[in-house]
Amino acid sequence: MPELRTRPRDADPLEALFAPLRTPAEPEPERIDAIRWAARADARPAIASARSSATWRPRAAVAVGAAVLVAGGAVVAIDRGRPGTFVDEADAAAVLRAAADASRDAVAGDGWRYGPVTEVSRTTIEGRRCADCPVETATLETRSTESIWTGPGGDAYRAEDAGARRAIENEPLLRAVGALDGPTAAQREVRRRGVHVRSAGGDDPRYGRTLFWLPGGIGDPEAVPQDPGDVVGWVRERLARDLAADDALRAARPDPAPVVRRGEPLPDRDRTAVPSEPAVDDALMALAVSPQLDGPQRAAALEALADRDAAEVVPVPAPFAAPDRIAIRLGNADHGGAVTTATTATAAEEPAPADAPSGVTLVFDRGTRRPVARITSVADGLGRLSYRRGRPTVRERSVSVETQFVAPVAVAAPGLDAQGRRLLDPATAEELHRDGSSVRWRTAQERVAATRRR
């Protein structure tokens, strides 16, 4: 049949369609290294965990079992999934380098290609426990869809856990940031203006800023003034000095790749070396929570904060109520910072607005002036509570608080009685006090299990 022969029978459309997949691709050497590293048995737990953090991952980092939060084209923090899974700091440093390269490419190439990363609600990086490194503990809190539906090990969370938070303690890894040659892009960016991750819903100030820690750490604790007026000037000077150093560094060694974030230009790249006032507040808060400082210095920072309308004394929340304790809420509603923003409901008998921004409350021991608890609540039904036991050097334990837990730990939650237990579900209260202390530490797995039970 001549008409049949004239038809393009030999041109199989599927051949053409699959043509892009027929071309082998050569993977990056860093990625090969990362995979070889990850193939070691001791990296396995982190790998499983990293899968659940897929929103923060440049590929190289995922390959080695670390999830990386990228903000402004810079690696901000790395989620190892579980503390202690990295072999040593040299490994961590190598990982970080690979991740930094990968993240630059990823951000420059396609912006927040991993869509849910736009929903990262906040990033908190706090300097704690180490005089040499400004960062030891990173808390990444995300509203990503990934963290909603998968948890560590791939277990499913309830969908209602939207906004589930993750607390990542990255001591060796983040210490490795300091082990790199010079400040990383992350350090420069965060020092410069904090991390700003736009939320999917727009530029909501409640989400998207980081605690602006004191660049380079506190340094010599003895140098911190004990006068509330002096400490503000000292903080301003430190911030300005660091920003100026960053400017010089940036001029000498510009970032290799332009940053593209959803097609928008990176804001405020060429800011003059003048610290913003929220940054000053944040730095004061870093002083206020630093275990490096003695009582009078911390008290000076707190008083300075209060003078600046960035902190207020509030009733001690019930789980932490004790005659020798005082609770101070850091930040105010106008601050705009994620951690540094307080709840707008200031009295316990007033109902908190549904859209109340998050806040942080520190409970201090009156005698030592050391914080014994840090309480954070958010308005979307999720909260976070951290507290210390015993001496401040004891490792801080974190509690991810679900909806039912918000009421007892929120400073200004509506309907609390003197003990703060009126709103407690009996089952929940039992969980809260099961171990005899105020709060029972719940791992993510436990939370998943509890969720399923309900």
Binding site: L14, F18, A25, E26, I35, A63, G115, I148
Partner: protein, 197 residues
Amino acid sequence: MPPDPATVISAPMARRPAEAAVAPPDEDRVARRALDLGRRTALGVLAGDHAAADDVAQDVAIQAVRCAATLREPAALDAWLHRTAVRAALRAAKRGRRRRDVEQRHAALTPVGAVPDPSLDELATLLGGLPERQRAALTLRYAHDLDDAAIAAALGCRAGTVRALLSRGRAAVRAQLEDASVIAPRDTQHDREDDHA
């Protein structure tokens, strides 16, 4: 008297002379091969979802590097990789379905799955409507040029099943192309002859 170390070392080799002749592949080569092969397979099965395909490729590569030293038949590395990649990709596709279900119930959440490579747009669209196993079969045939037996080994099914999967997959893709007027409608009788051939 302690045994001669050389004797101890060579004893297992003597029992399996064929294995002694073939050295296990080095980690670099295995990782490269696994990444490449795993990613291309996963891209097909996952209909162009690059992020998920990268995950699959990494899983396959890590698993391959771990197992490379113990591979009994290094020459069969590709077959093993195909099988592992297909399984991993199918698992990822299943997870993706669950995830989409959750996201659809919460429409406020930003969906993901953009295809950054425009050259895969059309393929992703066409494969998106097919069952995962059909996608896998088509990918192994058209991206990796595997025959029915090799595809069957990778999918863990019979060759006849592979032929059925390929036939249905081709028909579905062609139907979509015809609907979009990309190709001319085919003679049904001729199609059947082609598929049987």
